[in-house]
Amino acid sequence: MIFNSINFLYFILCFFPLYFLLSRQLRLQNYLILVASLFFYACWDYRFLALLLANVCMDYYFGIAIYNARDPKIKKRILTVAVIMNIGILFFFKYYNFFIQSFNELTHIHLNSLNILLPIGISFYTFHSLSYTIDIYNDKLAPTKDFVAYASFVTFFPQLVAGPISRAKDMLPKLTSERKIDADRMTSGLSQITFGFFKKMVVADTIATFVDPVYNNLHMVSDLSILLAVIFYSFQIYCDFSGYTDIALGLGKIFGIELKVNFNRPYFSKNFSEFWERWHISLSSWLRDYLYIPLGGNRKGTGRTYLNLFITMLLGGLWHGASYNFIIWGALHGTYLIIQRLLKFKLPGLLAICITFGLTTLTWIFFRAQTLHDAMYILQRIFMLHNKQLTSVFTVMKLFYLTGILLAMDLLFVNYFDKVDRKAVIINVLLLVHILLFSTFAGNSFIYFQF
């Protein structure tokens, strides 16, 4: 059940009245969130419901055990077991086959791979719950006694399958204290949902109609088509993921459980540090707090800082999926961050934005291409640019228009949805008109669901 489907509309039409009928009964409301979230997840694949529940129970009790253990060594041992179990499950489902195949290629030994399906959202909910146990270990959080509130935090349906990756210390207070109905906040949520649908259904899905055929038929299309597909993919993935996040944040606002901002106009970044403070903020801050800083951060000298940065970005790439392409994507971002620290001078604003965007766009090639060979082939074609034939001129014109609208929105109407005024109403109506006029209504899934 995806946000841009009719089934989700029915789901919300059932959930919404019940949720507000229970507005004075917090515990029952949390039960409803939990049941609705499990139903939402079961609609994807009920077979992995048990895995999700096992993850919830496991970390809930690990949290209590860590908190109750008096001996720091025992605390550490419990945490180690918790981390190994969480990462172990994630590894098994997501990376087992990749490592087996890589091992086979390297050693020429034949170990059998397994026919494993990837449980949707596993990378996200594993990180939700892992932050809970680590925060308890670091004395940043006391374990909650309210299992339902905890389970609702991990499984909260707007953020369950593609984030943002929430922290228990931010979310649990919102689930354990009374939520008040606020018409302005709900209206702001509605505006943000409208903007999210515009990004996803209009910009991202329309771009997909051009980009997907190009990436699937690289040998049949012109160099110019490949170049345009590479550029537009930057906007596709941004609109797809930030569109999903806007819908999730908007739903959170309507239900009185606000989620953390995940995107802040990333393509206006002047360097890569800034880019990672604006792109998938919940993941980059998670990696910073739970990986980069524990590795030593910038406290152990320049060389070690660079190494830590590189390892963090490499693992950040691997988090997205089990493939060399993602590893290279992460490694390239790590390299950019190191080079940026080595080169101490600052470029003028617009030039810096263009260079950062250009490199980010080139790096997305590894993220999008199906194989490493395809990625290298694309790079070769776009730099040669021999064949400039363009068959889908009208689609390309539409894409320029839509990305123009998107950039105008990000430049002129930043977070317009935070205000409840006439301007917001006019923008929302215009966005809805654009949805009717340009949306593909294809019910395309979100790119980040595969992670």
Partner: protein
């Protein structure tokens, strides 16, 4: 809560009103001014010759050459992905408006099964197209009728006509190489009974109005044609029936430079094809 519901209803009501207004504003302007072929047709539907079919028909027949050099009254109504349902609706529309005309129909469009909603754009212009989209979302959400490439083309052709559109590209070495590597394709043109049935329907429809239906198969790039295993039996089936005026233009021996890709011809061969069809 009630305030939020009220705001939600106002937003939806405003959006509904605006979408109807935007639709009629665009449609009125484009119907009167656009020089896109289908809009030209609905403004002035009476012609001597009509071309119908998908993109292969568009690329095969050069409207400008036919009208200016050959002084023939011809309109090429072919469009990307045009399927049987749309071709049939357009033929019915032509039949009610013109008699003693010749309709040239490229047959691969008759095998197009993919539902293409682009023609909802013209549901207000033709009762036959309106019939196709009744009880669909297009009947209720007017603006969605413009959610297609036909709308963009209508805007693009506000200042100039698409009658002089030509395909000037030549098939690339990459495509030639990939075509050589292709596995035989036994699905294209496979449903011969359906094609024959549809051709019969078209002939019957045209005969009622004294219009003549001529079917043709636009050329394929020869290397690609070799991969279409259903091509020879299809031609045999049609020719053995002796009921259709059918012309396989693959017999024209178009050189490699006459193709823009493996299924479309370009400007150089379109002159040859147009001339051939006009001689019929």
């Amino acid at each position: 809560m009630s305030l939020f519901i009220k705001r939600l209803c106002i937003l939806l009501a405003l959006a509904m009103i605006v979408q109807v207004g935007v639709y009629f504003a665009f449609k009125t302007l484009l119907d009167h001014r656009s020089q896109f072929r289908l809009s030209r047709y609905f403004r002035q539907p009476r012609h001597q010759h009509y071309i119908l079919g998908n993109s292969r028909a568009v690329n095969a027949v050069n409207e400008q050459y036919a009208t200016q050099s050959k002084h023939t009254d011809l309109i090429n109504l072919g469009f990307n992905g045009m399927n049987y349902q749309t071709i049939s609706a357009l033929i019915s529309d032509i039949n009610t408006k013109q008699t003693n005309a010749t309709l040239f129909i490229e047959i691969t469009g008759l095998l197009e099964e993919k539902q293409d909603d682009s023609y909802a754009y013209y549901m207000g212009n033709s009762p036959f197209l309106r019939e196709q989209y009744k009880n669909t979302k297009y009947a209720y959400l007017h603006l969605m009728r413009l959610n297609n490439e036909i709308f963009l083309r209508n805007i693009y052709y506000l200042k100039k006509s698409d009658a002089d559109w030509i395909n000037k590209y030549t098939i690339s070495e990459n495509i030639i190489e990939e075509t050589r590597k292709l596995a035989p394709n036994d699905t294209t043109m496979a449903n011969r009974p359906l094609l024959i049935k549809r051709m019969r329907n078209i002939v019957e429809n045209c005969n009622q109005y004294n219009n003549k239906a001529i079917f043709f198969l636009a050329p394929y790039y020869p290397e690609y044609l070799k991969k279409l295993s259903q091509y020879p039996p299809l031609i045999d089936t049609i020719q053995q029936l002796h009921v259709f005026d059918f012309h396989d233009l693959n017999t024209l021996k178009i050189p490699t430079t006459g193709f823009s890709d493996r299924i479309h011809t370009n400007i150089s061969s379109s002159l040859q094809i147009t001339e051939y069809l006009l001689r019929l």
